[in-house]
């Protein structure tokens, strides 16, 4: 067995373990952490296939940005896993059977597959450069379409979640705040000087101790 094959099997085993833990972990934070492990291992497999750009993109974009954000959300939302996972064990047998059938069918097809192996590439070839060139030359049309889809997704997300200003909310308009002048903040009012009235002595009826007793 080649050394590379050994690494592949090691990575694959970790990947499958991590993926299983994602759906079986009790604590959602653990599930997210295992998902990060799964992504990281998948990046390793890509490196074995000499797709270093994809591997780096997976680590930087998915693990660095998406998963960290995801972790924040999971920590903040405090999801009760037991509710989400209700019926997990009840549905598990059916899920396993379907999974096995799919795997068996794919095995039947792939059984007759002749693996041509990876095409040889020159050691100097950079797949970052190749991917970039492909994206803006041959695949420029799908690339731009993807951009349109993302723009549409933003519009749709805003349309579905933005509910306008709530009545009675105390939002202040930053533009108004900037435009404000000193004159708006303080008003000088002309008024008659206030004259202290002479203090008039008032007769206070004093209760006598004897009256209280009666």
């Amino acid at each position: 067995m080649e050394f590379k094959t050994l690494i592949f099997y090691a990575l694959a085993a970790i990947l499958i373990f991590a993926a299983l833990r994602v759906i079986t972990a009790r604590n959602p934070v653990h599930a997210v952490l295992h998902l990060i492990l799964a992504f990281f291992t998948a990046a390793g497999i890509w490196l074995l296939l000499q797709a270093e750009f994809l591997a780096l993109a997976l680590v930087m974009v998915y693990i660095g940005a998406v998963m960290v954000l995801f972790l924040f959300v999971v920590m903040m939302l405090d999801i009760s896993v037991d509710v989400v996972k209700q019926g997990f064990w009840r549905h598990l047998p059916l899920g396993v059977i379907i999974g096995l059938v799919v795997a068996a069918e794919m095995g039947l097809v792939l059984g007759g597959w002749t693996d041509a192996g990876l095409p040889e590439v020159a050691a100097s070839a950079s797949n970052t450069r190749d991917l970039g060139a492909l994206l803006v030359r041959e695949y420029v049309y799908p690339f731009e379409l993807t951009a349109a889809i993302l723009l549409m997704a933003i519009v749709a997300a805003v349309a579905l979640t933005f509910r306008g200003k709530k009545p009675g909310s105390r939002n202040s308009n930053p533009a108004d705040q900037i435009r404000v002048k000193a004159a708006d903040r303080m008003r000088i009012v002309k008024m008659q000087p206030e004259i202290d009235l002479p203090v008039v002595a008032v007769e206070v009826p004093v209760e006598t101790a004897s009256g209280a007793k009666e």
């Binding site: 007759g112 519009v155 579905l160």
Partner: protein, 511 residues
């Protein structure tokens, strides 16, 4: 490696580029529009679609000037094609979306919860998705166009946020639609492997043909991929057994969105089916032909039978859509069996296309009428709401009658000729049992269309729903013109049939 870089020819894609640019402009301009009616946004949206139509027409004429045979233009490394099918279907798509927006204007104005500006922008994005699908010549662009269309539609279904049924419908549509997209993509990836890395439709067909001639076909992987592709297509067309989403989505969505889903996307789905199955996978036709026949018969059976039990007209039209799509698939399946007779092949596909085009025209007017009868706080989507329509408005009762008769396939309305053309193709292909089944199920279907007519003419209107119809003159005129077109094309069906025939020339294999 960058020395031989050539800027792609943007010109054949001018309508798409114009539409995307204008969508961004409208998105920004809509911020400044204060009026709740959004007249500026609406006018700009319509003007954009009209501009696209002019551009497409211009491209078509230019192709005619360049050569007598209207040679198709390919660009973006052959991922994009501008041929007769693309031009014709795109023009129809623009006019369908324009009519959809005209019909739905007052409907969405009456419903405060629907954000108006976003509705128009998302409709434009959906149109862009349809155009990309229609003009696709590559698995990737088919998929991306489909996603652009579907994602825009999922969002528009959920736009009415105060309605629980709309949210539920959007959720169902999203989950099932995502599953279908996944299946389609999975099938495509299997084909990618089996054809040694071909994704362009022409290249896939070439690979299959050469493998066929050399006798070295690895059928297992090909058929495996094909099954997933057909399942994905069936989901998008909404044929049995992949039809579960259709009635709930038609029913739950606001009627304006139902129309947006029910009309124009059928044209794009037809283009996608023809380009994938006929353009790319014709060498596997023996396999997909049987699948299509099964889907068609099941759809006609389930669609027509279940529609009888519906009390809601939107649900009834949803089941009717299922049966109509099944009927359309019959034509596609029949075409293959007559492959040795080129004229028969041509007739079968143009019959299918004729069927889709006339169905879209009819369904457009039908939902337009449902929206015309709706008013603030009243949906008018139950069959009971049509009771005594003749007393309220004899004119629109007559229009609805034309549409129902056409859908049922009564002679001298366009629906009859569509059914007739498909049936003739099926008989020519020698599948008599298919033709008999189709006629039987259409007869069953005639019941529920005729019931609508009976309700309109012989029942008394409900007490709270007896006032005459109020709508602006233009909408009324457009609905009437649309319904009358259904009757008029029935008098001259050969004109439209001829156009369908001519536009399919580029797609079918060179005979």
């Amino acid at each position: 490696m960058f020395a031989n870089f050539a800027v792609p020819d943007f010109f054949p894609a001018a309508p798409e580029i114009f539409l995307l640019a204008m969508t961004c402009v409208i998105l920004l301009l809509d911020l400044t529009v204060k009026s709740p009616r959004r007249t500026l946004t609406f006018a700009l949206t319509q003007a954009t679609l009209l501009g696209c139509a002019l551009l497409t027409l211009f491209l078509f004429i230019l192709r005619g000037i360049a050569s007598q045979e209207f040679v198709a233009n390919y660009t973006f490394s052959n991922m994009f094609v501008d041929d007769g099918l693309a031009d014709f279907l795109k023009l129809l798509t623009y006019f369908t979306v324009m009519a959809t927006l005209f019909y739905s204007r007052r409907y969405i104005e009456d419903r405060q919860a629907i954000p108006k500006g976003e509705y128009y922008v998302l409709a434009l994005f959906a149109t862009l998705g349809m155009m990309v699908m229609i003009s696709a010549n590559h698995f990737l662009t088919i998929y991306l166009g489909l996603e652009l269309l579907s994602l825009a539609l999922y969002a528009t279904v959920a736009l009415n946020r105060t309605s629980a049924t709309a949210t539920e419908a959007a959720m169902k549509y999203f989950v099932l639609g995502a599953l279908a997209s996944g299946m389609l993509l999975y099938g495509m990836s299997m084909l990618y492997g089996a054809t040694h890395g071909a994704l362009e439709i022409g290249a896939v067909a070439e690979q299959l043909r050469s493998a066929h001639e050399m006798g070295s076909v690895d059928k297992t992987a090909l058929v495996f991929g094909l099954v997933f592709i057909v399942a994905g297509l069936a989901f998008k067309l909404g044929v049995v057994p992949f039809h579960m989403w259709l009635p709930d989505v038609y029913h739950g969505a606001p009627t304006s969105v139902t129309l947006l889903i029910a009309a124009a996307p059928k044209l794009a789905a037809f283009a996608m089916t023809v380009r994938l199955l006929v353009g790319g996978l014709l060498d596997l036709s023996a396999d997909w032909c049987a699948m299509l026949m099964l889907l068609a018969v099941l759809s006609m059976a389930v669609g027509n039978m279940v529609a009888i039990m519906q009390t809601n007209i939107k649900r009834m039209l949803a089941y009717s859509a299922i049966s109509h799509m099944g009927f359309m698939l019959l034509g596609l399946a029949a075409g293959v069996s007559v492959a040795d007779k080129p004229l028969g092949l041509m007739a079968a596909y143009s019959a299918s296309m004729f069927y889709v085009v006339t169905y879209v025209l009819t369904t457009l007017a039908a939902f337009g009428l449902v929206m015309l009868l709706a008013r603030e706080g009243f949906e008018s989507d139950r069959l009971d709401d049509f009771k005594g329509l003749n007393k309220r408005s004899p004119w629109f009762a007559a229009m609805m009658m034309i549409l129902m008769l056409s859908m049922a396939g009564i002679p001298f309305f366009v629906g009859f000729f569509a059914k007739f053309a498909v049936l003739r193709a099926v008989v020519d292909s020698g599948h008599y049992w298919l033709a008999i089944a189709a006629v039987l199920f259409s007869l069953i279907g005639a019941f529920y269309y005729l019931r609508v007519i009976k309700i309109m003419y012989f029942d008394e209107p409900e007490a709270d729903n007896a006032q005459p119809i109020t709508a602006c003159f233009f909408t009324k005129a457009l609905v009437s013109a649309n319904s009358l077109a259904v009757a008029a094309i029935g008098l001259f069906p050969n004109l439209l049939l001829g156009i369908c025939n001519a536009s399919l020339l580029d797609v079918l294999p060179r005979i």
